[in-house]
Symmetry: C2
Subunit: 157 residues, 2 copies
């Protein structure tokens, strides 16, 4: 089980976008320079967030990415699942119905107890991530940070 590296990038990107003024945008190039990561690949991953409804993108000059809705309405889970997919990492393939020890279909009416326990753990993980919003993140950093972030994102030295 391993999360892509881009997950970290996008979490930080979203947190940075949350520090912008309402309506302001940042381009993929600006974000890539801000974090020193491959611009093209970052752009590709940002599209995942757009598809996931977390970010909104506008093309053309002065365009870029911005949060699709208020920072208080975007949870860390939204971001992670948009990047990495929302499927349970544990996939029950009904192994109990195969091979020499196959169970009869009647015995498999209720889902496998192991799959259920794994799903519960996944839910615990999801709930933990869903408990934090981008607004919480912004509130946790120093009050002077947003102004600096905005300045450095737009490119002024």
């Amino acid at each position: 089980m391993k999360l892509p590296v881009s997950t970290e990038w996008l979490l930080h990107c979203a947190a940075s976008l949350a520090q912008l003024e309402a309506g302001a945008t940042a381009s993929a190039t600006q974000l890539a320079q801000y974090f020193d990561v491959p611009a093209a690949y970052l752009a590709k991953q940002l599209q995942s967030l757009v598809r996931g409804g977390v970010l909104a993108a506008t093309t053309g000059p002065r365009g870029g990415f911005r949060l699709a809705r208020d920072a208080a309405r975007i949870t860390l889970l939204d971001i992670v699942e948009a990047v990495d997919g929302a499927s349970d990492p544990y996939e029950c393939r009904e192994i109990r119905q195969r091979g020499r020890g196959a169970l009869s279909p009647e015995e498999c009416r209720s889902p496998c107890i192991l799959a259920r326990k794994m799903a519960e753990a996944h839910d615990a993980w999801r709930q933990s991530l869903a408990a934090t919003t981008l607004a919480d993140i912004v509130a946790a950093i120093p009050a002077s940070a947003p102004a600096r972030t905005r300045a450095r994102l737009t490119g002024a030295p």
Copy 2:
């Protein structure tokens, strides 16, 4: 984020071994036939559980795998982490210290808030899995199952 398919195999293998009489063993071949999975690959993965201290292996005829300790002392987390590794799927690479928006080292004394939230979620997942033992699994299945499992594992038609 995706868990290997073998995770399901080994969870079921461990659950089956927990249904054996104390001291009894089952070989990789028997388990593979029981679940209809590639025997060689299953054997390789069972080694992970041996290295993780979950199973004990004895070579030679009548040999095979058995639980390394009492089923009540083996949690699902022990198995999953033995197979898949115990590292946090989210790896903080301190992206905040790189690029144009790099923070000063003093500001990075405390760990990144995002990494902390992700670690909390991982802990919630771990705790959920650690709450269930193999003994709990065995207790949840019908009382008649262990006898049948033993019969079908050993190969009697």
